[in-house]
Symmetry: C2
Subunit: 101 residues, 2 copies
């Protein structure tokens, strides 16, 4: 089963935005931006592993992440370079945690 990691230029902008327009997925992206490559299991945001797997699939198919197998785990990382090149400012704008004020 190929991991379905599309060319970012082939992904419609709306798909990239839709992938980011979910709270759980945004938390995953933030964790990846801070912690670098991480195992799927490290994202514990109060959803079942089935749901988490679903969200990681959405992120991957939107071109936001890459996944590689490592033993029994799977390591996920942000495609930050490509994203910053194609959508400069997008990740920065979205990643920075905003103060409640």
């Amino acid at each position: 089963m190929e991991p379905h990691e599309p060319d970012l230029t082939a992904v419609p902008v709306t798909s990239v935005l839709a992938a980011l327009a979910d709270d759980v997925r945004l938390q995953i992206v933030r964790a990846l931006a801070e912690g670098g490559e991480s195992a799927c299991g490290s994202f514990d945001f109060g959803v079942s592993k089935a749901t988490r797997s679903h969200h990681l699939k959405v992120l991957r198919e939107a071109g936001l992440t890459r996944t590689r197998a490592a033993g029994t785990s799977r390591l996920v990382r942000l495609r930050r370079d490509e994203l910053d090149k194609l959508y400069p400012g997008l990740l920065d704008a979205v990643l920075t945690q905003r103060p409640p004020a």
Copy 2:
């Protein structure tokens, strides 16, 4: 009927992204960015006026646009300054039409 134009800082990022993650709404935002303040009716993107009204409502309630009455029309404009201040780079990243290559 108040037009429900929220303080941008009170709108969750996911709502802003979700508002932009639709093809029709993105076309509206692009048209507004290019043409400035425009009447609702000027956005003819192949949907009924009911649907168009719905999309404009989503944009307004996500804090992306402001609307004011002008005779029988309603003029809509992008809240670009506020958006650029709160999410620098977001609009630019999303607005630029990308070549199919």
